[in-house]
Symmetry: C2
Subunit: 330 residues, 2 copies
């Protein structure tokens, strides 16, 4: 199956919303033979799609499984350069690890690694991240920005904005951002972002932006340690969401933010981040990477490099570059 024809066939059948599309029409629009169409239909069926075929009427799509395959992600993808090349695995250890491996071997900016299941998914700071089959999105994007390493955290902020906006649009939930990059709904974590990079001191070689988002994950599928603090789209009452549609929305939103970032307009992204933040204005406690409390106070602002500015009880402002933030009111 070619990488272009399959998504186009899917788009065409899908646009008919269950109605018939004639073989002649498909052949004309896709520029392929009737025999080629038949092969593509067989391939779709093998993946779990139900495509009816009838003489003179053509084809119609009766059931479309919720897959993260390249066909699904590319069918209707609105980006110009991110996610146009997709490496899909049914099962992978970690999409970030695979993306890093591919980046080391020259994978270009925009390569998207997707998996239906991660067996060794990773969160920040070496934590594990559960991705049971079919219940979540595990995506990793290879980026090659012309930035210095100290500017890389901006990418994470941009990604949090993109995910929160995509969740709002596609799932209709009031997603917000907890500094620096947890996307939350109702105070519970819906999505984690793990950004890794390889760099020289003054130049990034590549960044792998990893996004893990809980879609239909049930409470009993979660790590017991996180059951009280994590959630999924389904648990928050979202209507049924196609994962590929959410990936497409995240990619489109992120591409816009990334273009701002690279074009010297990071303040636009930062304004969007501030508008989505659940941290700013709150009383917070910051734990350092060693688990010790480093500062308590009011989260007043986030600066151009993504650092959180926290004013303590004595009126002194602390610039927080890393760590965990908990809201003291919650």
């Amino acid at each position: 199956m070619t990488s272009r024809t399959a998504p186009e066939l899917l788009s065409l059948l899908s646009a008919a919303e269950g109605g018939w599309v004639s073989g002649a029409e498909i052949s004309r629009q896709l520029g392929v033979s009737r025999t080629a169409i038949w092969k593509h239909v067989m391939a779709l069926r093998a993946q779990g799609y139900q495509v009816e075929a009838a003489p003179r009427r053509g084809y119609r799509l009766v059931f479309r499984p919720d897959l993260l395959t390249p066909e699904e992600v590319l069918a209707g993808l609105a980006t110009r350069r991110l996610g146009r090349l997709v490496e899909y695995r049914e099962t992978v250890g970690s999409t970030n690890d695979l993306a890093k491996e591919m980046a080391r071997h020259g994978a270009p900016e925009g390569l998207l690694v997707l998996a239906d299941q991660q067996t060794a998914g990773k969160g920040r700071l070496g934590r594990s991240w559960a991705t049971p089959p079919g219940a979540a999105i595990a995506m990793s994007l290879v980026l090659r920005p012309d930035l210095a390493p100290h500017e890389a955290p901006r990418i994470t902020l941009a990604a949090a904005v993109a995910v929160a906006r995509a969740v709002r649009e596609v799932a209709g939930l009031a997603a917000g951002i907890k500094w620096p990059n947890d996307v939350q709904v109702g105070g519970r974590k819906l999505c984690g972002i793990l950004t890794e990079m390889e760099a020289e001191m003054d130049r990034i070689a590549f960044v792998v932006l990893g996004i893990g988002l809980n879609v239909t994950l049930r409470r009993e599928q979660m790590d017991p340690a996180f059951r009280d603090t994590a959630t999924s789209l389904a648990l928050e009452g979202a209507a049924e969401v196609r994962r590929a549609a959410l990936v497409q929305a995240i990619l489109a939103r992120f591409e816009g933010a990334y273009d701002h970032l690279l074009g010297g307009r990071f303040s636009v992204v930062l304004d969007q981040w501030r508008a989505l933040s659940v941290t700013l204005g709150q009383a917070v406690r910051v734990l350092g990477l060693d688990g010790q409390v480093t500062v308590e106070g009011v989260a007043e602002a986030v600066d151009e490099e993504g650092a959180l500015l926290v004013r303590d009880g004595a009126g002194e402002v602390h610039r927080v570059l890393s760590g965990e933030v908990s809201l003291r009111s919650s």
Copy 2:
């Protein structure tokens, strides 16, 4: 050959300065059998050492080749934790690449990769770096500092200090540092430092500190593009230098600086850097990574993050984090 006995035998024979050491004495000091000694001597001979053996007199070291083997580097190494584990290759693509690969698979802090020859040696910014057999030092050290990515450039400054001091001690040349990390003698580049890292946004996974130092390299062995600007210890008239001794001195000096850095005493390293700098106080031209001139002026200072502060003709101070500096007076 065990990793401990071989360097100890070498130290013992070497300490006798060409004199005889009896088998009984070696056996006693190293705690190994006479048969084991014989096996070690045979192994040394296979590497190019000339070791004479005579009944009743014992052994004496007549010729010691200039090798970068673990035996040579470990014999008399003064460090506590850096370079105690050595991965030596006669030929390697790039010691930095091998060290990164080993670090990804869990190599501990302090692992030292050494090679006699690099076939695809790398400089900064994707440039190539020539390492013909036997003529240079190519060393890469795995570090796992508890630092944020934006603090990593400090490691490069510390390494430049270590190399400049080691060259002064071992080779007796007046080595200086051109910002940020070229070690020079007489205005020509003797040593390049390539620091690479893998990191999350707020935490370094590992750093690979690569040092390439020209020892006996002749002008015709250099890349034609660098013949006017590069040099070697031999070209600068240094007395014969054992490469392993220089590696030992670099490791010892760097361990001291690294301890200061991790212990919150980076200002000590910075003072040493300033004392060795050939850039401060000079009229400089800074080229950005794109090759364009970004600022011209006088290099006034280097700050706590290693940035160069350049005052331009209008009196404005520019903070330079990356790029190439050329001295306008030279």
